[in-house]
């Protein structure tokens, strides 16, 4: 096999490479947001109302200082979007991690011990997944608002969002891990480990877990897109990140108020970034699923 053929065989399709590059760029930009962003959206002194509602620099009336234009408060959209993107990514990853940890733990327990624990956990999961994540998350947000003061809700918004999204999403991990655990449970190496008297916790974490991790990774990537979308939707509906600390969804919500004044860029720019982000994650997730799940390859 020549080097070229080898590379072509090994490399993922071009769309996946582009998606990976886009995602990597976004993550780097977000990590160094404070250095790259022309201004700090949380620092009121760094922007002024004089600069408000300037269209993107490539349009008539644009200002070279503001590549994507400014919003109604004179904030540079590039900076606002960078910081918003950071919050969206952090909440998305946080929700996926929390859901994966809960789901893997409960899935291992259900699959390893079986019996009544298994039945109860899976029934609870069945009921939870029959409700759409958005509905559950909205309910939690409403309850939080009724129980806590407005300022507390704003301050804890990221945590509330992560928990609300994870509450529904763990079931998918639990189901997959449970099924794989049951298969592994019957294998000789697990039976041998039981015979020599290793504690259950050690068998689950050190012996079974590494063998079920690849499917968890695939679900996590596919779910990341969903989690980012859910967060954006909640923030758009006003039940997510507050305007003082906006995510991409909050920015689109704010921009939505200016659609009819012709200031379309305030909403469309963050929306475009959101769609590109989710699309990139989806392309990678689809690829990983086809690659690591031969059962789905048939389609």
């Amino acid at each position: 096999m020549t080097t070229r053929a080898f590379l072509q065989h090994r490399l993922p399709p071009i769309s996946v490479i582009i998606a990976g590059l886009v995602l990597a760029t976004m993550i780097v930009l977000v990590i160094f947001a404070a250095l790259i962003a022309p201004m700090d959206p949380r620092d009121v002194s760094s922007y002024s109302l004089i600069d408000m509602e300037i269209p993107p620099s490539f349009m008539d009336g644009g200002d070279p200082r503001f590549l994507l234009g400014t919003d109604n408060q004179g904030r540079d959209l590039v900076s606002v979007i960078l910081f918003g993107l950071r919050i969206s990514i952090i909440i998305g990853i946080g929700a996926v991690l929390l859901a994966a940890i809960i789901g893997v733990a409960l899935g291992l327990i259900a699959g390893y011990f079986g019996g009544i624990i298994d039945t109860i956990l899976m029934r609870v999961g069945d009921v939870l997944v029959s409700f759409p994540t958005i509905l559950v998350a909205l309910l939690i947000s409403g309850v939080a608002r009724a129980q806590l003061s407005g300022a507390t809700v704003s301050e804890w918004a990221p945590v509330i969002l992560i928990c609300a999204i994870a509450l529904n999403e763990w079931v998918q991990y639990a189901r997959t891990v449970r099924a794989s655990t049951m298969v592994e449970n019957a294998r000789d190496y697990v039976r041998a480990a039981k015979v020599i008297g290793l504690p259950s916790r050690r068998i689950m974490l050190r012996h079974i877990l590494p063998n079920v991790m690849s499917s968890v990774m695939v679900i996590a990537t596919i779910n990341l897109a969903g989690a980012i979308l859910t967060e954006a939707t909640l923030s758009f509906l006003g039940a997510g990140m507050p305007a003082t600390y906006p995510s991409l969804g909050t920015l689109i919500r704010i921009g939505n108020q200016f659609l009819f004044s012709g200031l379309w860029w305030i909403a469309v720019m963050p929306a475009a970034v959101l769609v590109v982000l989710v699309l990139a994650v989806n392309v990678i997730g689809d690829y990983l699923r086809d690659r690591f799940n031969p059962k789905l390859m048939a389609h």
Binding site: F131, P132, L135, L138, V143, W264
Partner: protein, 321 residues
Amino acid sequence: MIKIVSMRLFQAILVMVAVTAVAFIMFRFVGDPVAMMVREGASQAEKDALRAALGLDNPMLIQFVEFFGRVLHGDLGTSFRYQQPVAELLMNRLPATLELVLVATVMSLALGIPLGVVCALKPTGFLSRIIQSATLVGISMPTFVTGLLLILIFAVNLRWLPSSGRGELVNLGGWQTGFLTVSGLKSLILPSITLALFQLTLIMRLVRSEMIDVLSSDYIRFAFARGLPRSHIYGRLALRNALMPVVTVTGLQIGQLIAFAIVTETVFQWPGMGLLFTNAVGYPDVPVLAAYLLFVGFLFVMINMVVDILYTFIDPRLRTK
């Protein structure tokens, strides 16, 4: 047979009791109902009297049973915000949501099935590749962004269609319908497209994969060998079998759609149950939240149960399990 059906019924009742319990906990513990209802500056004695009148000093279990009884009678409490019975509020908003969901479902089926078939017949063809890539973009496009772009193009720039509300309505025996006026129909276009796109991708992908499965089965190959016309094989023999799971999924999706109508209704200020719910989250109007949870829970349980029981009737293999 009877055993399976009664098992399903029992499970459904169990789930409904659990959902009602959650609604009860929200109703009872989220915010203090007495503080919400009592006049300002009321004395402790007045508060206690109201508490006793509402039955809030009874043991929890009794309160829950009473709540359950009220729910069974259709009494879902009074909205904090509108000071109206919640059941009445929901019923007034139901036609708007149902009309939107109905039109969106018909649209997504009418487009999704043919597109899915096209992709299945020539999986590597140019057209199906374009459709496949478009679905990936479709999945990545949040419902509210779709709605926003449609508003921007058709309402703000072109000024062809209204961006909010239901337009003029006609009252048909208590059912406010928008189907009978021009402005009602025009108002329906953008929201229903937005909601249909959410479902379209799913139906399309499902039809495609089912169709590919069916086309590789023996009876289709045999039909080709017999020399039956292609249109007969694809249209009558293959598509019919491929549509079975689509019917199920569409049925199950109607519950999902009603919940997803929340987003669409908020974007287009469509006066349905979803908009009522989003407004309740921000207020926060706890009785409305609890009632909506009960309503969606009831809907899901009913649809799931009916689909499950129908399946045991249709498919004899499931009965032996």
